[in-house]
């Protein structure tokens, strides 16, 4: 690495890096640029840099469509799914690592197995069950279905995390008179914070970007989340690309913001295979 390189080789490297950057980022750039063009200009102008920036597409999107409502639905679903995932995955992962439990391998193996399930295969039975329980077309039902994505991920990731945490700290706290629960809440949880943040980020990502479950579970326009809401706009909205690109940009924005602020957690999670798809 540190060796001197010949000029052609260095040039080749720069070109390759440039190609990777353009290949990866151009469609995203184009999405953002299209959302900021004047809708009339969009149909005539394909310059790489827009002449006039305009927020008209965003105004139309937020004032004339159900987008704000779908945005709120998405926020509710993702936030609740994240919270529930964190509580239960911490409980299972902690219990499995801190106690000799028979069938431990079965539990962890089953979680990994569940994590590999394609969403659509589990969507049919879940929808059938929820239809009978009266939970079809509700945000509650959608949240519960998202837990089938996020819970296995959380347990799998935190299992690895707790395994590498020394037992001595909580044992010391318990010798000092803490109960197991006290030691867990005061010693283990704060130390597990980086792991919990990673789980929260990826659970959010899975829930926020989910299309399959939302398509199956939600029927009414009022309960749609962003991915399904936006996709259905294409059919009903006589293809106004400016508004659709504005909607796409707004869905991606929270994910990019989180990535920019917390990229080390992303890299860590991706390294552990934290996103299915």
């Amino acid at each position: 690495m540190g060796r001197a390189k010949t000029l052609p080789r260095r040039l080749g490297l720069y070109i390759a890096a440039l190609v990777i950057a353009v290949y990866s980022a151009f469609p995203i750039y184009w999405m953002v640029v299209s959302s900021l063009r004047q809708p009339t200009e969009l149909l005539t102008n394909v310059s790489l840099i827009p002449n006039v920036l305009s927020l008209e597409s965003y105004r139309n999107l937020l004032e004339l469509t159900d987008y704000p409502r779908h945005f709120m639905n998405s926020v509710i679903v993702a936030v609740v799914a994240v919270l529930v995932t964190m509580v239960f995955s911490v409980m299972i992962a902690y219990a499995v690592t801190r106690q000799r439990i028979r069938g431990k391998k079965v539990i962890v193996g089953a979680m990994l197995y569940a994590y590999m399930f394609p969403p659509l295969l589990i969507a049919i039975p879940i929808f059938t069950i929820f239809a009978r329980l009266g939970l079809s077309d509700t945000l509650t039902g959608l949240i519960a279905s998202h837990l089938t994505l996020t819970l296995p991920l959380g347990v799998w990731f935190l299992w690895g995390f707790f395994k590498s945490m020394p037992f001595e700290l909580e044992e010391a706290a318990m010798v000092d008179g803490c109960t197991r629960l006290g030691a867990f809440l005061r010693v283990v949880l704060p130390l597990a914070l980086p792991g919990l943040i990673t789980v929260a980020i990826f659970s959010f990502l899975l829930s926020w970007t989910d299309y399959t479950f939302a398509l199956v579970m939600i029927g009414s326009d009022a309960n749609k989340t962003l991915p399904v809401g936006l996709a259905s706009m294409v059919g009903s909205f006589d293809l106004r690309w400016g508004e659709i690109m504005a909607g796409s940009t707004l869905i991606a924005l929270p994910l990019f913001a989180a990535f920019a602020l917390m990229s080390q957690y992303f890299i860590q999670g991706l390294g552990a295979g934290a996103v299915k798809g």
Binding site: A21, R98, P125
Partner: protein, 286 residues
């Protein structure tokens, strides 16, 4: 409260939730495949293996199985090839490397819907940027979705763009564990860069390559959202895989038992792949 009570309490509550949400639906899916149901709230009628017989006798099932295999194979080959290439470049030192590494992950963070809509916008027949670029180069317009072959190629193209970062990230992490001394020694022996790649890098990457290919195979084979949003499985079933077929049976044809039977067959195929995964990578005992 004793220590054991707390731990078993945790375990009990956690597993109860998992059981209700994941295990019960999985078992229910299998049982549904033995019933005939015309609506999701109607009374199921036991039909034994009739759904399986009907599904397996339909040519569209075998067609979908083949499509799924072509789609998975095609997208995995290109993801892995590009992912290794990108990782090799991003592992070298150059100014702005962290920026390019960051950019190279972005496609993976985008929701599927956003990727598909942006792709459709870029190749839009009248005013898409790609359409205009093709026009400017004096080439005939590309029909992205009209012919069966083109639709499959477009689906693979979009999938490769979305999931290459997964492969890149895995290989980049693995490359950093290859000891530099191996390369130094090989250089002293006068090897070329190509020889070093095939005799050092690739063998050292083999374990991660196996994980990546297995995981990608498991996920690509049953991919639903990309294909559904891009082509709905068309034209004339050219991009329909088992997941799309299962969805169509359950939600468009209201043949819920048939849909469940296809899902169960997919479960079974998936389980074989997962068993191979566990066999190659047994869970570590701690």
């Amino acid at each position: 409260m004793s220590s054991k009570t707390t731990i078993y309490g945790f375990l009990f509550v956690g597993l109860a939730v998992t059981l209700a949400l994941i295990v019960a639906p999985a078992v229910y899916a299998v049982s549904l495949s033995f019933y005939q149901m015309d609506s999701f709230v109607g009374a199921p009628k036991w039909v034994g293996f009739a759904n399986y017989v009907a599904v397996l006798q339909a040519p569209e099932f075998w067609h979908a199985l083949l499509n799924g295999a072509i789609y998975a194979l095609g997208s995995i080959v290109f993801q892995v090839a590009l992912g290794i290439g990108f990782a090799l470049v991003l592992n070298e030192a150059f100014p702005g490397r962290n920026l390019v590494r960051g950019l190279s992950i972005l496609p993976y963070l985008l929701p599927t819907v956003v990727v598909i809509l942006t792709f459709k916008w870029m190749v839009d027949g009248g005013i898409g940027i790609v359409t205009k670029a093709v026009e400017a180069m004096g080439l005939p317009p590309i029909n992205w979705f009209e012919s069966p072959g083109a639709a499959m190629a477009s689906t693979i193209l979009v999938s490769v763009w979305m999931w290459t970062p997964f492969v890149t990230t895995c290989f980049l992490a693995a490359l950093q564990t290859v000891p530099q001394s191996l390369y130094e020694a090989a250089r002293v022996d006068g090897t070329t860069a190509v020889q070093r790649f095939f005799h050092i890098t690739l063998p050292m990457l083999k374990p991660i390559l196996t994980v990546v290919v297995l995981l990608r195979a498991i996920w690509m084979f049953n991919k639903f959202d990309v294909i559904w949003l891009l082509t709905r499985g068309g034209p004339v079933g050219a991009t329909e895989n088992l997941a799309i077929l299962s969805y169509r049976h359950a939600f468009n044809l209201f043949d819920i038992g048939g849909g469940a039977a296809i899902a169960t067959i997919s479960f079974a195929l998936l389980s074989v792949a997962v068993l191979i995964y566990f066999w190659v990578f047994p869970l570590e005992d701690d």
